[in-house]
Amino acid sequence: MNFKTLNFSWSICLGAAALVLPLGANAAENIADPSTTYLPGGMQPPYGVLSPELARTVHDADVGNPPSRFGKQTSKQWAYGATWTRENLRPVPNPHPAPEPQPRRDHPFDVAVCGDGTKAYVSLLGSEMRPGTEVAVYDVASGKITRRIRLKISGQSVAPGSSPMRLHLHPNGRHLFVGNRFSNVISVIDTQRDEVVFEIPLDFYAQGMTFSADGKVAYVANRYLDEVLVVDIDATGENFSAKMRVIGGLDDQAYFAPNGIGRILQQSCGTTGCHDVKRGGFVAGLDLHESFVSALDHIVPGRAAESRLLRAVIRSRDGGYADAMPLFTSHANKTVVFGDPATDANYQAIKQWIDSTQVGPGIDVGNPRSKPSIVALSSDGRHLFVGNTGTQDISIVDAQTNKEVGAIYIQNVTNELKILRSPVTCDDWLFVTTMGVGFGTAKERDPWGGETWDRSNAASQYTVWRDPNTAAVFPKEQQEVLGPFEATDGTANFKFRDIQNDYVLINVSKLNIPAEPPKTGLTYLLKANRYESHRNWVRYTSDTAESMLPDTKGDIPPDLMRVVGALPDKAVVVGDRIFVTMQGSGEVQELQVNVDAADPSDILTPIRNYRTGAQPFGIAAGVPGTPSEGKLFVANFYGSSLSVIDRTTGEQHELPTDPALYKLPLGVTSAERGEFLVHTSAFTSDNDQSCVSCHYRELSDGRGWGVSQIQGQEYLTGQSKVGNLVEGTTMLPPQQKSLWAIQPFFLEGSLSVYDPRSMLMEHCPADDFRDVTGQGDFRDIEAHTPVLAVQDIQSKTTSAAGNESNLEERRAEFFRRQSLKYFGKSFVLRDFQRFVGEWQAHEPRLMPNPFDQNAASVNRGKALFNHPQLGCVSCHPAPNFAKKDFPNNPRQVVPPQVPLSVRDSGFTLISMYRLDYLAGIRHDLEPWDAGRAETPDQNQHITPLQLRGAWDRPPLFLHNAMARSLREVVAAPGVPGLGWFKYEPLFGGSPERPGRREVGFNETYMIPKGTNAAKVHLMTGGRIASDAHGGTSQLTPQQIDDLVAYLETIE
């Protein structure tokens, strides 16, 4: 097909206020999947055609590196025909013209002890801006850091490995594997010589790894590829060697063979005037190399039914779209190339070729953006368990076939996996460190208790819109009923309370793991997302889960509150004990394990906690019979130190990994203090949570997020202290990276960069200080001066307006004491706001993007992105990919371009500056701050989300976190370009995509009334016509994928 020859009848006028969609009812009839009907009020059949000029632009941009054989976007090393070259990713530049100087910190991440127990090795991760390149060596006998190993082979003139993260000792006890986050190699240190002796060519963003029992195979989680890479090792004798085993990918030899797939495609598609030359993005001519590269663009290995190569040439009844899209009806004169694919030998040959392989180059795990970070191998070596931080689950891989066969749903990030073997039954139990199931999802639906649109229901819930001039709440009659719950605290809903810290134990030997991927699709074999103790699985949670005054009481089994500390991360097993680092609270919890306990609640028994330095991650145990026996070694990230704990005495000896930083206080700059505040639980009233409980790794935890729960229902009903149970809306957990790009406002345009009061208050609400807190008893403190209480619902869990000065003073005293303890100086809330603001804004902290920036698909996608017909750059212009300079818009926020519900529009965040203004306090910052309050007319203004770093985020997109893939963002409902998920994505354990099919969100509005869709549309000023999120609905399936490919490469 030739774009140039098509006779388009398009009616799009660039810059016009409206887009007249040319295809009406007839086009709707042609939409095959998933639905042909749409609700009135905004959604339209997603049809239209692209301008010839745009098609030419894309065609001209079709240059660059070929795709890989593996069916997914990769770094350039996997481009077909490319050869691997050693490379370090470059840090993302800091756009700040005058950044506050920061001391250099090592930021240790992991620790390992060598086989003879004489030395501990500490990976020095560094920061995003200044990645580390060394591993420190701690000598157990002398108790000192004795050297720092530079991560390169001696004598080689290459840059050392960059940003060393995980450390894993090979079973031979001698070779230490160092995963370099920003390098495409694993550095192997010989611990007898303390130098790098080998580099394993691999890929960037290696994470946790594990070895087969015989040490011949290593499995390495790769965060950006969503895969586990397999490494074959020869560690016999003195010579060490290892090589990555390439898995899956399309077989080029079968393609090039005489009468092979290439010839079949040439015969079927490459006739003169069709795809004998590249037309419509595909060529199948005489040049088989050229046609193979072209075919790669259209194939998902192992999944013929999802491959565009075949879908474009079969009918919708057969799973294709040749008869459903105007651009493809030219295939064989409005019939299809393969009229009856079930009996067509050529079709079947191509299908077999595709289905006989799998996605590679490693083992593909989980849904897209699973973000695997940790792996564990069963005792018999049969099954590999892969902890995914993006999709909140654990993939199960058959290690014999290297295929994923199922998964376990955890409902939060998986930080650690350990296999524990029962001495009685020989069953394998999987130990998982994670965080709570609370917050983000409804524990149970409540259609009769408030989750209703029925205004006559006494329990129905409403918006709490306010008058921006007075902050007073409008009467109930002027509010809107909210309907179904969205993101909530799953333990039974109270804002940020009950954010918890969990351990899960699962008898994986009893899971009935299938030998092959089920023909009907991958499923979750277990949903371990409840606080329950079963014979074959148990989930424990924090000791302080219900301790604070406003926590929901009585919804967690008292026998399961056994986790002591905040943000459990890495663990080490010693005999019948497990030691877990608590990165938020700076401690290690010791637990006794008995997987054969008579009562499953008693599998874990908490023994004691040890103090560590700040933000401990990696942990290792000493080797029995060596000088390190009885010791624990802990890498303290923020403390930039190593803690050596004597288990007998419980004493901790902390030493800096860099002696030059000896006695340097914890936070010497505002940004450093802000960083600590964001990551520690020390400033929370129950010492149980921190900002990164939700902003996991400063991104997000992969869950819809309920920051804007509707509170203040008491104002509607005239009560003084208590109100109806109210669930909140679902919103995207914004990343805490590159906020520079969207300052001065962030969080949907509601708060300034120096205005994070609301966030801090969720962790430490003043109301907690009515009673004894987990951090002490402050009830004897009273304020000298009453403060004017504004209706600051973010800091009052009761939303009560009254004189709260005593509570504020108690909290202030708590903050003073804690900051004196940690920073050596006394600070209060206002200082904290500034610190966090400085940390948020002073550098981007973005991770370097590993994807091939010069892939042809990326270049085509870039051309689409920048084309005015699509309008992407209207709100996401480079270099920050977030627009903050709207002419004639002093608030610098825009109406939403994404689906909203009334809950989205009814949230009650109100600017602290606005509240101060109402209280008579004036600021000179953000003079344009008109209030950002919520009224029916103003509530829907938001900040355009930035696209920088989007590649690194878990699979949640759009402001309301509704989209699970970038393709869902840019595609309209029902377009053929939508793909399939491997698993039905879950939200709080409930399927969000029954049928596994992606749902397009472009051109959809969900505002039922009030500020209606039409009005919102008008408020866009016609910038992007009637399209809600860019004029992307008309794109072909390939163009959609190209656009997504470009979005993935934005750094």
């Binding site: 929901t552 009481k553 026998d559 208590v722 409930s990």
Partner: protein, 350 residues
């Protein structure tokens, strides 16, 4: 016996048997505010000597079991799996909760007369059972499938959380080692085999799912034991969340974090005079669980599937939201499952 005294205080008093036989009724959409609205039923109680329990006589009845499709929000939430539209994502998330498919179809069930405990079995009653078991073993009471060597002691009568030994932990915890052992609160932390053995020891049996539902809602298909409108102070559910003293009753607060003393919510009583059928402790019943029971099972004194992997749990608990304390809600658990809000009551044939 203290328990019996406690039970009779606050009861509605002894009522005369009327020989009432219920008839099937169409579900009433108009609000039923209390059990008084179902005026034809005259609760009648009998005593069970073995465990000192008060039982309510339930006459032979025909009643609509399960949930009809006729409530206002359901049609608005219809969802076609595999054909989900963007506007339906939130519905998809909540679909299982909204559809309640295992409660459908609503179907007429006929039951013979039986008696059911007015209250959930208390710790005091369970102590008597354990004392007898300690003396004579459980051979005569235990279910054939009961795991060998099983101990009938409730989980929460033991040292259920080691952290309680830490004074700092104990200071902040909402519970103590004695929270779940009070004489007049329902015994919890028992599995189905415990419940089965107790019932047999007491000369009774576990109610069937159908019997339990009839006892809870009567014959008029009401949503909660007291009627069709939710009220916050008629049973013990979750919701103690807005600061101050969570134990003080008030709006959205029933005054109890964990299971309350049985019979604490007189106004929430069922039409047949049973207490705590909504909330407080969830209750084991005799049946195996199957999601399609209502479509495939018997309508004449149904006893559920012949086999299964999970037993039915009814009534919701102090852990649930209002919708999950409805009379028709069907939960299900493995027979050896225990938790802090799961107890039982007994029934017997008449």
């Amino acid at each position: 016996m203290k328990l019996r005294t406690a039970i009779f205080i606050g009861s509605t008093g002894l009522l005369t048997a009327t020989g009432f036989f219920g008839v099937a009724c169409r579900r009433q959409d108009k609000p039923l505010t209390t059990s008084v609205a179902q005026g034809a039923i005259q609760p009648h109680e009998i005593n069970n000597q073995r465990d000192g329990s008060v039982m309510m006589m339930i006459p032979a009845s025909e009643f609509p079991m399960g949930t009809s499709d006729a409530y206002s929000d359901l049609p608005a939430n219809r969802l076609v799996p595999g054909k989900v539209k963007p506007t339906e994502i939130k519905i998809a998330r909540g679909w299982e909760g909204w559809a309640l498919e295992d409660e459908r179809p609503q179907h007429t069930v006929r039951l013979k007369a039986f008696a059911i405990d007015r209250y959930e079995v208390t710790n005091a009653q369970y102590r008597m059972f354990l004392a007898d078991v300690a003396e004579m073993g459980d051979e005569r009471f235990r279910h054939p499938d009961q795991p060998s060597g099983k101990d009938h002691t409730p989980r929460y009568w033991k040292d259920f959380n080691p952290l309680l030994k830490d004074p700092e932990y104990a200071r902040l915890a909402q519970f103590t080692s004695g929270t779940f052992t009070q004489s007049n609160t329902p015994v919890v932390g028992v599995d189905w085999f415990d419940a089965y053995a107790y019932a047999k020891w007491a000369g009774k049996r576990l109610p069937t799912e159908a019997e339990w539902e009839l006892a809870a809602r009567g014959t008029d298909s009401r949503r909660w034991p007291w009627g069709n409108d939710w009220q916050w102070d008629l049973c013990n559910i979750v919701g103690e969340k807005y600061g101050a003293d969570v134990r003080a009753k008030g709006k959205e607060k029933d005054g109890y974090i964990y299971p309350a003393p049985v019979g604490s919510f007189e106004k929430g009583r069922s039409p047949f005079g049973c207490d705590d059928m909504a909330g407080n402790a969830a209750e084991w019943v005799a049946d195996w669980y199957a999601a399609d029971t209502y479509a495939t099972g018997s309508i004449e004194s149904p006893r559920g599937p012949q086999t299964g992997t999970e037993r039915v749990v009814r009534g919701g608990s102090s852990q649930n939201l209002p919708s999950y304390t409805r009379c028709a809600v069907r939960a299900h658990r493995e027979p050896d499952f225990k938790t802090f809000i799961l107890g039982f009551r007994c029934a017997k044939d008449l």
